[in-house]
């Protein structure tokens, strides 16, 4: 299972772009990279998933370099409501996918 490393916390002002980087040096060929967001007193929720290069949806972008040993979640123009904990997970569908582990994540604080 690929271990992930991400910053414990980040601060940002409203309106800025926030980039959270996750390291996963031992990612396997079939592994996908998934980011979750957790607000206080709620369960985590899926934000974005990717395998390589760049993925964009209505909420965020995910940048994955060619070696796939890291990934960067980009949140454009954050607002106070983006204050949350963000988790980076690496894993695959099928056998073994139940072993996904949530670390402590990155606590993002958006400042007015």
């Amino acid at each position: 299972l690929a271990k992930t490393t991400q910053p414990i916390s980040m601060d940002s002002y409203e309106g800025q772009e926030v980039n959270i980087t996750c390291s996963h040096n031992n990612i396997a060929t079939n592994d996908y990279i998934t980011w979750y967001q957790q607000f206080p007193s709620q369960g985590p929720r899926f934000i974005i998933q990717g395998y390589k290069t760049k993925v964009t949806n209505e909420v965020a972008s995910l940048f994955i370099p060619a070696d796939r040993k890291s990934s960067t979640l980009s949140l454009p123009r954050v607002s106070l409501s983006d204050t949350a904990v963000y988790y980076c997970l690496v894993g695959r569908s099928g056998a073994g996918s139940y072993q996904l582990t949530f670390g402590k994540g990155t606590k993002l604080s958006v400042i007015p």
């Binding site: 979750y36 099928g94 139940y98």
Partner: protein
């Protein structure tokens, strides 16, 4: 579209009591999970199930039991509650495809159950 539903949302137990946290999902997911989250920490996997009739231990199974008699339901049983089981419990589900390259395992979570053991 209800997703993953957990009950109760809040519960206070006395040491030594037992209780069951209920979880049901309406997305026809094959995988279901129970996690616990202590304050300021990440989620730890208690038990998981890859299908009806199949369950297995996760990282922290001691003091808990589960069953999976149907695809939809995955109750978590706490036997002889202890203060160390005070935590927030999250039930989750996902649809995991077996073929290679079928994508990552996207997990959908319930809203959580806050349990205090006194």
């Amino acid at each position: 579209n209800a997703g993953v539903t957990q009950t109760p949302k809040f519960r206070i137990l006395k040491i030594g009591q037992s209780m069951t946290l209920q979880c049901t999902q309406d997305m026809n997911h094959n995988y279901m999970y129970w996690y616990r989250q202590d304050p300021g920490m990440g989620l730890k996997l208690i038990y998981y199930s890859v299908g009806a009739g199949i369950t297995d231990k996760g990282e922290v199974p001691n003091g808990y039991n589960v069953s999976r008699s149907t695809t939809e339901d995955f109750p978590l049983r706490l036997e002889l509650a202890a203060p160390s089981q005070t935590s927030v419990y999250f039930c989750a589900s996902s649809y995991s495809r077996s073929r290679q390259g079928a994508g990552g395992n996207t997990i959908y979570f319930g809203e959580g159950s806050w349990l205090t053991v006194v």
